[in-house]
Point group: C2
Chain length 336, copies 2
């Protein structure tokens, strides 16, 4: 093992574009080792405070397996890289802790993209000592931006929960759907449709007319939902990741979303996301506190005993315990 | 409105088999009105303390829409009633608060059963002032048993979460599946299979051979899972709710599960479920406490401000807040 460099030194190397340092930083943030946690905290603090001066784009790409996520990421990522942008691709998968094998799999799936100098691909970060899965992905976004990436694409591979989580971390949420003729709207959960900013009907090269019909249906059904934002309603486009210029409409609608006139709206959304992140972190920390309390506190132990003996209803017993709780938070003495 | 009777009086009426009093008790437990909460607590305490002397059976029946739950409940419920048992059917549906319309729908779906004197059908209880959806269903089970029902069947109508919740409330978890020839195992979530005690392949009247083949496949795949219990492994049977004696194999396997030799194991499971119920209630209460703290506490407000200004990483800020917390629980003075 190398002697670990200081966090300041590591940060400098990351900023200068040193890929192995970036990979080491990702590993540090994902470390579950207690001995890494002080260094990880220091790095987190640094990447959070030193937000990039240039504007960045955070995009989630979601879709059922087979909807064409990998080919879209490959084609779209290369198009961005060829425009001179630096692109980071992250995956989020709360349902399983993926292993080294999948890192390889990710890179194989998108091999042209992975070979590009301006592109960084990172598989789903796993939950670490400093927070949950959501935290890990948010940290990965910040770290990517700290390293100078202009566009961070978060690929969601779950169906449902991970999409809602991803939408709370990115500026723009893209849903990929197939141009199948059937009752395909059924397959998309309402909750996902509600957070979607752009629907991309993929594989228009196979049957353009079918793709257009599907797009019209999605446009119709998205109109039934209450829009998430006041200044953007869900847009539907068709596209092909395999044809030349097949993604032009998609690229245009993304550019429209990130138009400078919308920058205030995007900043406001990020502000809200920060508040949400803090509240989630606090809840997570509280829950750990409570868990240890539940295991060790004598009054709670007595209440549990009464419940198990059949003497006290569980909800009544719990309410009585909480009524007797007092919580105080010592101020750190700093001025507000 | 009638003048409300005392809880003791209400309990007496319920015990004497007065159906309208039972319905009134259900309504009281589901009331969200603050003015009802003292009476509801008193009733909860009573039904929890006065567990029935005779042994009862708590059975969850789960399955995708179309798997034949309603017809099974109708046929199985009538078979039990004809054996002299009193049967309560409860529904659990955490995804939606069902309305009066569905009460009717439930009774129409199972009209023969609903007409039977020994049968009580209650649609999914909604979350009330004294706890969450899980609490409401658990209370409904206790109330049914308090009213003298021997068998309580909890029908789960969700797919996934509600099944896991239901399995923590009942003795026996039954999964209904169709005898379709395709890759039907894919449709059943691993998490549901893991909590399943009996798989019933339904509609064996349509194609007995197909049902037997499906049963063999389910038996094979259930063997791949780690059994939940030390003294019971998942059993697969075929059955028909429409043919005479079509449920004999199912009835036999349920009787086998509830054989007196297993009563200690079932009691131990209920004991564990009580502990879980208490812990869930406590977490729920704590979360409410924390929510109000997050909104009003000055130290938390300062930390949130630092996060929003970009000065402090959310997880780091949250950890710092929680480090400064002290919680004390005043003992109620009673002896352990």
């Amino acid at each position: 093992m190398d002697t670990p460099v200081s966090i300041t030194e590591l940060a400098e190397r990351i900023k200068s574009g040193h890929r192995r340092s970036l990979a080491a930083a990702f590993s540090l943030l994902e470390s579950t080792s207690k001995s890494d946690s002080a260094r990880a905290s220091e790095l987190l603090q640094m990447i959070y405070q030193q937000a990039p001066v240039k504007s960045t784009r955070r995009i989630a790409v979601s879709g059922a397996p087979g909807a064409g996520k990998s080919t879209l990421l490959e084609a779209y990522g290369l198009a961005l890289a060829n425009q001179g942008m630096r692109v980071a691709v992250l995956a989020i998968d709360p349902s399983s802790a993926r292993t080294g094998g999948s890192i390889l799999a990710d890179k194989v799936r998108m091999n042209q993209l992975a070979d590009h100098d301006a592109v960084f691909i990172r598989p789903s970060p796993s939950r670490n000592a400093l927070g949950g899965v959501n935290d890990a992905t948010r940290n990965a976004i910040l770290l990517s931006e700290f390293a100078g990436y202009d566009v961070v694409i978060v690929e969601t591979v779950g169906v449902g929960q991970s999409e809602i989580a991803a939408s709370s971390m990115v500026d723009l949420f893209v849903l990929l759907v197939l141009p199948t003729a059937g009752d395909e709207l059924q397959g998309v959960k309402r909750g996902i449709m509600e957070v979607t900013d752009v629907i991309l009907v993929t594989k228009s090269d196979i049957d353009l007319e079918a793709a257009r019909r599907a797009a019209a249906r999605y446009t119709g059904s998205s109109k039934l939902l209450t829009p998430l934002r006041t200044d953007w309603t869900c847009k539907t486009v068709t596209g092909s990741s395999l044809e030349p210029n097949g993604l032009d409409a998609f690229i245009a609608v993304v550019d429209q979303f990130f138009d400078p006139v919308r920058s205030e709206s995007i900043a406001l959304n990020r502000h809200r996301q920060r508040a949400l992140w803090f509240d989630e972190s606090l809840t997570l920390e509280f829950n750990q506190l409570i868990k240890s309390l539940q295991q060790s506190n004598a009054t709670i132990g007595k209440a549990r005993h009464a419940v198990l003996q059949g003497a006290k209803h569980p909800a009544v017993a719990a309410a009585e315990v909480v009524e007797r709780i007092s919580i105080s938070i010592h101020d750190d003495g700093s001025r507000p």
